[in-house]
């Protein structure tokens, strides 16, 4: 299989997945359909990639991928853990410091709440999505560093 045929196949699979997704949403089908479709699609892409005859990846592109993934992980785990610790703190009721000394008499002392636990979950999901953009950013950076957009002299 040629490289371009492979990319065309990936595009078609993405379109089919999108169609299944919207069909599932519109007809209120159980999420099992799109989940299994996604797993099958990844399997097909994996098998098709093995059959590509002209080269797609060499040691330089492998290094770019490796570096981008490593940097993404390094940045991500710090942010994710910080947010998660905040979420746990929130759920365990933030320790109350003796704020009554600093507040007006008879003023109600309310517990501190940064975000409700449900919102923390959404924030973590958002962070997971953000990881994709972070990875793309690092990939562009390393691709540039290792000469992906160098001008040809030939």
């Amino acid at each position: 299989m040629k490289k371009n045929t492979f990319f065309l196949l990936v595009g078609c699979i993405a379109l089919v997945l999108l169609a299944i997704f919207w069909y599932s949403v519109e007809t209120h089908l159980p999420p099992l359909l799109i989940e299994s479709a996604f797993i099958i699609a990844i399997g097909i892409i994996y098998l098709a990639r093995k059959k590509v005859t002209d080269l797609i990846e060499d040691e330089r592109s492998a290094k770019i991928t490796e570096k981008a993934a490593l940097r993404t992980f390094q940045v991500f785990w710090v942010v994710f853990c910080a947010i998660s610790i905040g979420a746990v703190m929130n759920m365990l009721y933030i320790p109350q410091l003796p704020r009554q000394h600093f507040s007006e008499p008879h003023q109600e002392i309310l517990p501190w709440e940064i975000l409700p636990p449900r919102m923390m979950g959404y924030l973590q999901l958002g962070l997971l999505c953000l990881m994709i953009f972070l990875y793309v950013g690092f990939r562009i950076y390393y691709a540039r560093k290792y000469g992906d957009w160098e001008t040809d002299e030939e």
């Binding site: 080269l55 330089r60 592109s61 290094k63 560093k145 290792y146 000469g147 992906d148 160098e150 040809d152």
Partner: protein, 72 residues
């Protein structure tokens, strides 16, 4: 790390694409190596040198000058 790939290519009348095919990488990788943007692995360096039928030191020159540890 400096290299003379471009010189050897000219001597053997090879394009970047030809050399890339022979050593099993993309043309962009050969271009990046020639421009000094990417340091090849030992395996690839040996393949390139072997293709030109010379020792690896004749194609790749290691210099302490300007040597930096690649941390990022």
């Amino acid at each position: 790390m400096k290299n003379k790939i471009k010189v050897f290519r000219a001597m053997h009348d090879l394009t970047q694409e030809d050399l890339a095919k022979v050593v099993g990488v993309t043309r962009q990788t050969i271009l990046a190596i020639e421009k000094g943007k990417y340091v090849p692995s030992l395996d690839l360096a040996f393949k390139i040198a072997r293709h030109f039928k010379v020792n690896i030191e004749e194609v790749f020159m290691y210099s302490e000058e300007g040597r930096t540890i690649d941390v990022d």
